[in-house]
């Protein structure tokens, strides 16, 4: 766990750029040959995946991938910097509606959908900057922070739910009240002749896969950098961190903006995926979900969050498909079991189990 | 020194630790009824762990613990406490969000059936606890909290007091007061004391015997005459 990152062997012939070494570090689980071997194998499998499954499975997996960004963002905000935001859905919603408003007004030509994606994420970052400023510069922390963010998302929910009337429109985009906003185009790649519309399918799957990988690696670098060290320090003891000369408010704010931008990315992608966004995305039930994904996976680690989120999404969906009436009960039981028996979260817990097993088997620990 | 028969606390072959690591290894010693026994040793040798194990806050893996002949092994912390052990932990651990009076009130729990609680004695020893009885303990200074922690353990007249570095962070004259008061308690009520301390002065004034710990073991026992000899103590500590 705690190997300092400088102890990595460095090839003497050419120096690996410093930032690459940050892919490994004390703040992330998993390093060394086995881990990266597994990583590349997983990426390969993911790349070949659509060839072996039907269209629905590919599209459905793409849908799962949409949510990963929000989870990773929350892991950064909560797991790494220790601020439990209960309202990431607010930024999800802002970006979702943002994508809708831009595309409904400006159409999908000329790569406009990607412009919209960009602007939507920007909007959620700006919102996060404002809210984050109030929170962190107002010294709000702990559950108070949770309630402020939750209140924010519930206010947005309540407001958006009553915008059914036609006066509630931004340009050509009707907000649509509780029924939500529809009619926006999916992500569209401009192509001579015929634009490629990325409906939920193989194209969208690959796009999202690449985005998830890039985002995951970038976050790994971020949390192992000096910035990441400070975030973790703030989580552990904000008072001491400040007394070491760090402006903790600024660090937390930046983490919050990045994490919320990622929630926004999820929101915009979700909207593009289903051509639909509604206030219920910002309601209480929706707000609890990201926390569950991240906590179940293991919030203090990006890899754990990533895998955990996908696992929870898939398991819950399958329970709903096959568990009929009992699905929700089974979900509840699963959650309780994970919390009780794998307190670090699913993935770190499993890693621990494997480690223990190895120890018992008398082999050295491979970390 | 003491035999099985007249020892209040007897510990044999005690092994304990955290997770997979053992901190205490095969520790054995006795404290006689009415004795004041000190434990000294460098940082990290396991003194606090020993105290916690006696209280049951750290579970022991091997060995036996007896209080007045009764096996403490199967007892929970609170049950041990109710057998008459008063514990003053390192770092004070008063209930920060409760008032001074409420803190003392919790101490009543240790009362033996039929006995009376004695606030007056506590107040007599530590007058500030009466003066500030409605202040939240969390806003006390470090030394004030230490006094409160001792007061809390005294309320119900324990048979055995476990003190983990009680002088830490206390102004010199109050350290002396504390030493005096504990001695007084010992003389008047026969309270037995097991004391972990770094303050040699205090040990020299109070203790009748002294164990030296190193690396989780009791490595030697100082004779009463050594206890009066500062340099002998230093040598023992520098093992």
């Amino acid at each position: 766990m705690n190997t300092p990152n400088q102890s990595l062997p460095r090839p003497s012939a050419w120096r690996v750029p410093y930032w690459v070494t940050l892919l490994n570090g004390p703040q992330t689980l998993g390093r060394g040959r086995i881990f990266w071997g597994g990583f590349f194998a997983t990426v390969l499998c993911a790349a070949l995946f659509p060839a072996f499954v039907d269209g629905w499975t590919t599209g459905n997996t793409a849908y799962f991938l949409c949510w990963v960004f929000m989870a990773l963002g929350l892991s950064l905000i909560w797991g790494y910097s220790g601020a439990l935001s209960f309202g990431q859905t607010a930024f999800f919603g802002i970006a979702g509606y943002g994508y809708g408003v831009v595309t409904l007004n400006f159409g999908a030509e000329y790569g406009m959908t990607f412009g919209a994606l960009f602007m939507a994420v920007g909007a959620s970052c700006i919102a996060a900057a404002v809210l984050g400023y109030v929170i962190f510069y107002g010294r709000i922390s702990g559950v108070f922070l949770g309630i402020v963010t939750l209140s924010t998302t519930l206010v947005l929910h309540a407001f958006m739910a009553q915008t059914a009337g036609s006066q509630w429109a931004i340009g050509d985009a009707r907000l649509g009240g509780h029924n939500g906003m529809t009619g926006m185009p999916p992500l569209t790649i401009p192509w001579p002749g015929m634009d490629i519309m990325l409906y939920s399918g193989v194209g969208l799957y690959y796009l999202l896969l690449v985005m998830v990988i890039v985002c995951y690696l970038a976050l790994r670098i971020l949390v192992n950098s000096r910035f990441g060290n400070v975030l973790v320090a703030i989580r552990e003891n904000p008072h001491r961190a400040e007394m070491l000369g760090y402006d903790i408010r600024r660090y937390q704010l930046i983490a919050f903006i990045i994490g919320s931008g990622l929630a926004g990315l999820s929101g915009a992608l979700y909207t593009a995926w289903g051509q639909y966004i509604s206030p219920s995305s910002m309601g209480l039930a929706a707000a609890a979900l990201p926390i569950v994904w991240v906590a179940v996976g293991g919030r203090k680690d990006l890899t754990a969050t990533l895998i955990g989120t996908l696992a929870v999404l898939a398991v819950f969906q399958n329970l709903t498909i096959f568990g009929s009436y009992y699905a929700l009960i089974l979900m509840g039981i699963l959650l309780v079991i994970v919390v009780l028996f794998l307190p670090q979260g699913l993935i770190p817990g499993l890693v621990q189990l494997v480690d223990n097993y190895r120890d018992r088997a008398g082999k050295g620990r491979v970390s | 020194m003491t035999t099985e028969a007249d020892s209040l606390l007897s510990v044999e072959h005690l092994t304990a630790g955290y997770g997979n690591t053992s901190v205490l290894q095969d520790v054995g010693f006795r404290v006689g009824q009415g004795e004041i026994v000190a434990v000294i040793g460098r940082n990290g040798v396991g003194k606090t762990t020993l105290m916690k194990t006696l209280m049951g806050l750290v579970k022991h893996r091997e060995g036996t613990l007896r209080l007045n002949g009764e096996d403490l092994g199967p007892l929970d912390t609170h049950q041990r406490a109710r057998r008459g052990i008063g514990y003053i932990p390192q770092g004070r651990e008063v209930f920060l969000r409760m008032t001074v009076w409420e803190n003392l009130k919790v101490g009543e729990m240790l009362k033996q059936p039929g006995e009376e609680v004695d606030y007056e004695r506590v107040y007599e020893f530590f007058p500030i606890l009466r003066e500030r009885s409605n202040q939240r303990a969390g806003t006390f200074s470090g030394g004030q909290q230490q006094q409160l922690a001792i007061g809390r353990a005294m309320v119900a007249k324990p048979r055995l007091m476990l003190l983990d570095e009680p002088s830490e962070g206390i102004q010199p004259n109050i350290v002396k007061d504390i030493a005096r008061n504990i001695l007084k308690l010992n003389r008047e009520l026969g309270t037995t004391v097991l004391l972990v301390e770094q303050n040699l002065e205090m040990i020299m004034t109070m203790a009748q015997r002294c164990y030296v710990m190193d690396k989780g073991q009791i490595v030697s026992e100082l004779e009463p005459e050594q206890l009066r000899d500062r340099d002998a103590m230093r040598r023992a500590l520098a093992v």
Partner: protein, 386 residues
């Protein structure tokens, strides 16, 4: 034999709406069983592919995709809440599927991929409001859920009240999930209303009735949504719903031979069902209409073939609520509307019925699916005629 005809069923069997929608699934199962017993649809058996959408719009998105793409169903019966319908509609459009929305709602869906069998405002309010004003007086107070359904319904009420020469003495909108109504009860008392139109949605808002009764409000009430859907008169103890008037196209108390037979069969098959509400009937009717359309299209389940049949304008069915027909322009259904009155003991009587009320509004404002397909939802203030 031939492959079965596969029908996707996406309804909320758990979560907030379960109390109302569980019976929709029952009704579809019952219709399927009946049809299968009589040789299926064009000789093919019906196979239901059912998922519990848990009152969660996202589950609709996931499972609508699943039934259309993986399960390859021929048609889907889906949705209670309008937001759920809007969540799945883009997906139905994308796969060019055919979905039945068997639910009373705020109206306005003009989409060739959708067939709506539930009642819409013009059917429920153009009947209810004038009757109430006649009976109780011209001063109307509306209490409506603060979202699409409530707002649009309230707009209809307002329009009709004005047309009929009455006046709105007040309108309160209540966010979904609110369960405390003291202030609204006071507002109503201070405005001297002759009756209150309650367009309250969801189990939380249903708490209004008990609270109004215990505060001694005692005004007659009119609604398009309560009783017919959420059987509040069964769930609350009398007399909290006293003098409630509801226009519904079916409830289990409707006393016609067809209705009685339907209800009897229903309870025979599902003895534990809490109530047979209007959406159960609509779901039942929908499957029979589908059977008829497919059979008339010579066994084709192709959407366009079926729409060609609808365009003939005589897709009708004699069901539990009498004869109903599909309107080719809006693909909505005509209804016989029953005015149900709840009395002091919470028994139901029917002071009035209206036969064959057409879903005329969409056509009037310019929705004509036989001509073009805007795949949109119109509202009174936002439609092509404006």
């Amino acid at each position: 034999a031939d492959d079965p005809i596969r029908i996707g069923v996406l309804e909320d069997q758990s979560g907030d709406f379960a109390a109302v929608t569980q019976v929709k699934v029952y009704a579809i199962e019952m219709a399927a069983a009946e049809i299968n017993e009589n040789g299926g649809i064009a000789g093919r058996e019906i196979e239901l592919v059912t998922y519990d959408t848990q009152s969660d719009d996202r589950r609709y998105q996931e499972f609508m995709r699943r039934v259309l793409q993986r399960d390859q169903v021929d048609t889907v019966f889906a949705g209670f809440a309008s937001s759920s319908r809007e969540a799945y509609r883009p997906i139905v459009n994308q796969f060019d599927g055919l979905a039945f929305y068997n639910n009373q709602y705020e109206g306005g869906v003009c989409d060739a991929n959708m067939i709506v069998t539930g009642a819409v405002p013009e059917q429920q309010f153009s009947t209810l409001i004038p009757w109430m004003m006649e009976e109780y007086g011209p001063n109307v107070y509306t209490l409506a859920a603060d979202y699409n359904f409530g707002q649009i319904s309230a707009e209809w009420v307002r329009m009709i009240v004005e047309e009929e020469g009455g006046q709105m003495v007040g309108e309160d909108f209540i966010p979904l999930g609110v369960s405390q109504f003291s202030q609204n009860i006071r507002n109503i008392q201070s405005e001297d209303a002759d009756f209150v139109v309650t367009l309250l949605v969801g189990s939380a808002q249903a708490s209004y009735y008990e609270q109004a009764a215990s505060a001694g409000l005692g005004l007659p009430m009119a609604s398009s949504v309560n009783v017919g859907q959420g059987y509040e008169h069964k769930r609350f103890s009398p007399p909290s719903l006293k003098d409630m008037y509801v226009t519904t196209n079916f409830i289990e108390e409707v006393d016609t031979p067809e209705a009685n037979e339907f209800v009897e069969n229903f309870y025979e098959m599902f003895p534990d069902a809490p109530y047979v509400n209007q959406e159960a009937a609509n779901s039942y009717i929908a499957l029979h209409l589908y059977k008829q359309m497919v059979e008339r299209a010579d066994g084709s389940t192709d959407k366009e073939d079926l729409r060609a049949i609808i365009a003939e304008g005589d897709v009708c069915f004699d069901g539990p609520s009498g004869t109903v027909c599909l309107d080719p322009r809006s693909q909505h259904m005509s209804h016989n509307i029953f005015l149900a009155k709840v009395d002091e003991e919470h028994a139901i009587s029917f002071p009035q019925t209206w036969d064959n009320i057409e879903p005329y509004w969409l056509g009037e404002v310019g929705c004509d699916l036989t001509e073009n397909d805007p795949s949109a939802q119109y509202t009174p203030s936002d439609n092509p005629s404006r």
